[in-house]
Symmetry: C2
């Protein structure tokens, strides 16, 4: 369900936007403007992401802010790597340590985030 939610270009863009934005979240209107998605369509996709618990919402004044759920993100990664060690622990460790390294090592080196890949590719 979480994977299905992410397996759609618009939704994946929304999710990644929210992951970058952090815990405070982004209002529906701003998401729509940033990604140029009509309201009805965006609402549909936000509901889908929320149903998968990948994002959550909170109301503030007349705006609704959506934010990524980072624990859920971790759960998803755990799920994907589960039992990968069986019979080849060193291979698996390499794989996951690489992921860890590229994501989070030396986070404070530069203010500008280096964009390792451009945002919209069909690869994922």
């Amino acid at each position: 369900m979480a994977l299905a939610a992410l397996a759609q270009e618009t939704r994946l863009s929304v999710y990644r936007l929210l992951v970058e934005a952090g815990p405070e979240g982004v209002s529906v209107g701003r998401i729509g403007k940033a990604l140029k998605v009509p309201g009805a369509t965006l609402s549909f996709h936000l509901k889908e992401l929320a149903r998968a618990s990948l994002i959550s919402s909170r109301q503030e004044k007349q705006f609704i802010y959506y934010a990524a759920d980072f624990e859920r993100m971790a759960d998803l990664m755990i799920f994907l790597t589960q039992n990968c060690c069986q019979g080849m622990p060193e291979k698996c460790l390499t794989v996951v340590e690489t992921a860890l390294g590229k994501c989070c090592s030396a986070p404070a080196k530069s203010r500008k985030p280096k964009r390792i890949r451009s945002r919209s590719q069909k690869r994922f």
Copy 2:
């Protein structure tokens, strides 16, 4: 594309079977028997996973063995966690370190793999 490939129950089962099986891979027939999927259907899904580069195949005698591509798995995890640190590095580190810990720490403690979650849930 990789996410879409995994966002389908049968394909996710196939992928997880191959992740557990390791680099030697499993033949189409054995996968089909293990998961009780008719040949035509299985072939369709294997092609889909291969198109997403999540698995690869090699022929050996009359059998075709499919195996998970672990580097691709790492790439996917990198992609999902990319830029997650921006503005909240400590939150992100926690998340990913948790994933690392649960997947791969202390891999040699017991022979029997502890199944942390039961295999088929709709959650992912």
